[in-house]
Symmetry: C2
């Protein structure tokens, strides 16, 4: 494979540093190739000032130019071939098949945003024409379109080293709308990050765009990451990771002399409600699907179902038996990092130690710490205990879940209404179950960004109708999403142009409508 230089990538140039770190494979604890430079304060400054300096030119680039950039990034990532997947596998222990799929999703996502850059619909152009004869005062000509916010800091996440990392959805949606991006590479996969970062830099150069629109730095989130959030040139932040880290970034952004928006996707239990008819009719099948969903990617999905609610009874007993069977037989698997494994083990112990908690099942396969392996676990309690101890509602990142038994359908509603914000909430029910549970679905729609019927939450489609963002602590702002074409709305702001001559207007607002956009003209939508 390509030799890794380990340097920080700042506006097309490489910067070394005094302090370095190496990557360790969770597969076997071996040290991987590459000596990675911890970015300095000067690197942070250079990257952000480079981004700020490139902002104007990038904002002025056409949609076609930005589309070409995103497509070229996708091609450059594909051109990295198996070397990228192999390095990502070594760094994350995620299987090659999964990484192959994730690469497909990543380049597909880049191409979706390329299409969005090309069609230009995101500008949401609106024109209210002048009314010179209006009484008592004439109305001026008013035109509004969205434009980029400016430099966006993106934090790569550990659990999706491609799709939510250097060239993930945050980067794609920021570049799509003309915002320079500075990525804080995740410590757990610096080599993967360097390969993808270099691919982006190559694409930027090939497209003749200013190098400052992309930089990537290595370092600690709690030091260098916070410095990026605090930098005066930073205009917005995209983050996927833990609740503690997300909160720290939100707090740092809110404490700036000029607070900036942070979209942090943090913590979600993704509750699943099992209604009686479904339990009776296909409890065994749901149990199987549930175990597969909670252990997918070693439970390291932000949408892992970590919480199951159902009314007690023989059908629930049968479901639990099915879950116990599946979990007991689940193979041990390597987690992303030793730290994540430690947090997982501690989280499981804490969960199982709570009042009225019992362990329903734990995988019997030996989980070898030398291979960073985790064993799946399912814990059980009842609604009263769940509500009494907030410890039950702490996310355990990894292949663990909690089954909570209710005494009645009413108790299900009560507990649903008291849940914190979630990325997803799922209901399994027959047609009759669902007809009787309209109020439960309505409650869940107030608690979660996505409501799922008779499915599992772990699949997150990249499409127009996706919403990957729920009330706190699922995300820091439930009005936005980090997956799907609407993700670009996080990084744009409207500007109104009053009586500005046609030649000086953005193309989206010019009289002749040169981009052929659908616009809202005097309140009527059309391509006029």
């Amino acid at each position: 494979m390509t030799q890794l230089h380990g340097k920080n990538l700042i506006a097309g140039t490489l910067s070394d540093a005094v302090a370095h770190f190496t990557a360790t494979s969770p597969l076997d604890g071996s040290t991987l190739e590459g000596n990675f430079a911890m970015a300095t304060a000067a690197d942070v400054d250079a990257a952000m000032l480079g981004a700020a300096a490139a902002s104007g030119a990038f904002a002025a680039a056409t949609g076609e130019q930005r589309a070409a950039l995103l497509e070229r990034i996708a091609e450059e990532i594909e051109a990295l071939g198996d070397a990228l997947l192999e390095r990502a596998h070594q760094e994350t222990a995620l299987p090659l098949a999964r990484l192959t799929g994730e690469r497909g999703r990543t380049v597909g996502q880049l191409r979706l945003f390329a299409a969005a850059a090309r069609d230009g619909r995101w500008a949401d152009p609106r024109i209210d024409r002048a009314m010179p004869d209006r009484q008592p005062l004439p109305r001026p000509d008013l035109r509004r379109a969205k434009r980029p916010l400016g430099p966006v800091v993106v934090f790569g996440s550990s659990n999706f080293p491609l799709a939510f990392s250097v060239a993930g959805g945050d980067t794609a949606s920021a570049l799509c709308t003309g915002n320079p991006v500075v990525v804080k590479a995740h410590r757990a996969h610096p080599g993967t990050s360097e390969l993808v970062g270099s691919a982006i830099a190559k694409a930027v150069a090939a497209c003749g765009l200013p190098a400052g629109i992309f930089s990537m730095l290595h370092g600690e989130g709690s030091v260098m990451g916070i410095a990026l959030v605090r930098h005066p040139a930073t205009r917005a932040v995209g983050f996927t990771g833990s609740r503690a880290a997300g909160r720290a970034l939100c707090d740092a952004a809110a404490a700036r002399p000029d607070p900036i928006p942070v979209f942090a996707e943090m913590s979600s239990l993704n509750p699943v409600f099992l209604l009686p008819g479904a339990l009776a009719e296909r409890g065994a099948g749901i149990a199987q699907g549930f175990v597969a969903s909670m252990t997918l990617g070693v439970g390291q999905f932000c949408t892992k179902p970590g919480l199951v609610f159902a009314v007690e009874g023989p059908d629930l007993d049968a479901f639990e038996a099915g879950v116990a069977e599946g979990v007991t037989a689940a193979p041990a698997a390597s987690m992303l990092t030793p730290d994540i494994l430690r947090a997982y083990s501690a989280g499981c112990e804490h969960l199982a130690s709570l009042p009225q908690a019992t362990t329903l099942a734990a995988a019997t396969a030996k989980a070898d710490p030398a291979h960073t392996q985790a064993a799946a676990r399912v814990v059980k309690t009842d609604v009263a205990s769940f509500l009494a101890d907030p410890g039950y509602a702490e996310e355990v990142f990894g292949p663990a879940s909690l089954i909570v038994t209710a005494a009645s359908a009413e108790e299900l509603r009560t507990v649903a209404a008291r849940l914190e914000g979630q990325l997803t909430a799922t209901v399994h029910g027959t047609a009759d179950d669902l007809a009787a549970a309209a109020d439960l679905l309505e409650i869940l729609a107030t608690r979660a960004g996505r409501v799922i019927v008779n499915g599992f939450p772990t699949g997150v489609e990249v499409c127009h109708a996706m919403q990957h963002g729920g009330p706190w602590p699922a995300t820091s702002d439930s009005r936005f999403t980090s997956v799907g074409s609407a993700a670009l709305e996080r990084f744009v702001r409207p500007v109104c142009y009053q009586d500005v001559p046609d030649a000086l207007l953005p193309d989206a607002l010019k009289d002749a409508n040169p981009l052929g956009l659908e616009r809202l003209v005097n309140g009527v939508r059309g391509t006029h």
Copy 2:
């Protein structure tokens, strides 16, 4: 006029308190009718819990029901007749003609949001249909629509006692989309607030909607207002007021266990750039328009032009002479409150005392403090001094402005790029001026929410293309607006429904499209 009860209005019932305050007329210092109850912690709790309890029913109301409510509120306000205008005049010293216009704007705004509630476009429905045969995995049916956030706390502002107060744009946009509202009435016009608040409560009852969707409390922003922002049931905040108060609310919201969004409109200097051709061609006319704009409403507009930049020379001298003439002759006028007058006077003194500041002109009419009267003032400095001392960029709320002379067109661009965020930025120029100033306009579009050519910023149209929101400190989130139909976007969040049976979907997403909405279906817009 109706006798004022002075009580807090909580979900349709009246609540008295131990501590009270009265309203004083800035016109003559007289104590006005009414003894107003300072809301207690229990009142705050009751109002917020009432709002939370009504959230579900109000979210489930139809667009037609919400439209009827907004229209009824408009009618009830109109039915208050001259008594409302007279009381507002006594409380704010704003002239009756201005208040008549503001009432028209307020009811017009309510009707605009009624139309938005009725057409339902705000839900932005999107459908990505299932692809059961897709490889490697089928795609589920995914549908996304926006829904209300939940209880919104609205802070009435002092300077628009009708249009940005109890039934102003924040309340209208929150109610339009199904969010209960709790208003913190402004201390400066409690009687006006009571009249309008009672009109809203009457409309809520007449429409058969739950009383909890509207409450109004009296009290101090720094105590009761902060308590409202911190209340667990509060889901979002709308505020128009000072930078210090807005910052305090933003900080309180960000420090919650679950941070919530605040849209605070705070502080803007609304810079005006005079280009040489325009100065030469019509400097006298611009001077006249400028003085009218800066003294409109005694300078108490958030869009008052508080800053003028131009290149020095004889044409600027002539402009300044025109401004001096207008300002010198400006009549003394009553400000909203003695506190605002004190802050204005102190701000003027501070501005005039800065290094290299000279007073260009001050109104000669006697400003009588017994009538809370202010005298207009214009101060002058140069770009170097302006950039050297941040004191020059502090907003002086009232009829004051600062003219800053530049040595060159280049210096205009330099200073433009270093401005803080603004609600508006204005350029006066001939066709030739403007053709040469495309880069200046582009810089201003990065600094302001609205860019105006050859006009004045004080008029803010309520329409689809308006943007009343710029980068900090103009507002707390430049991605949103508090004026125009887009203002409702502050208070809604999308929810994605995955494989949810048709009968349980919101109407906006049902297969038959019963609302006849334009929707994005598989990426294509249409009413299919």
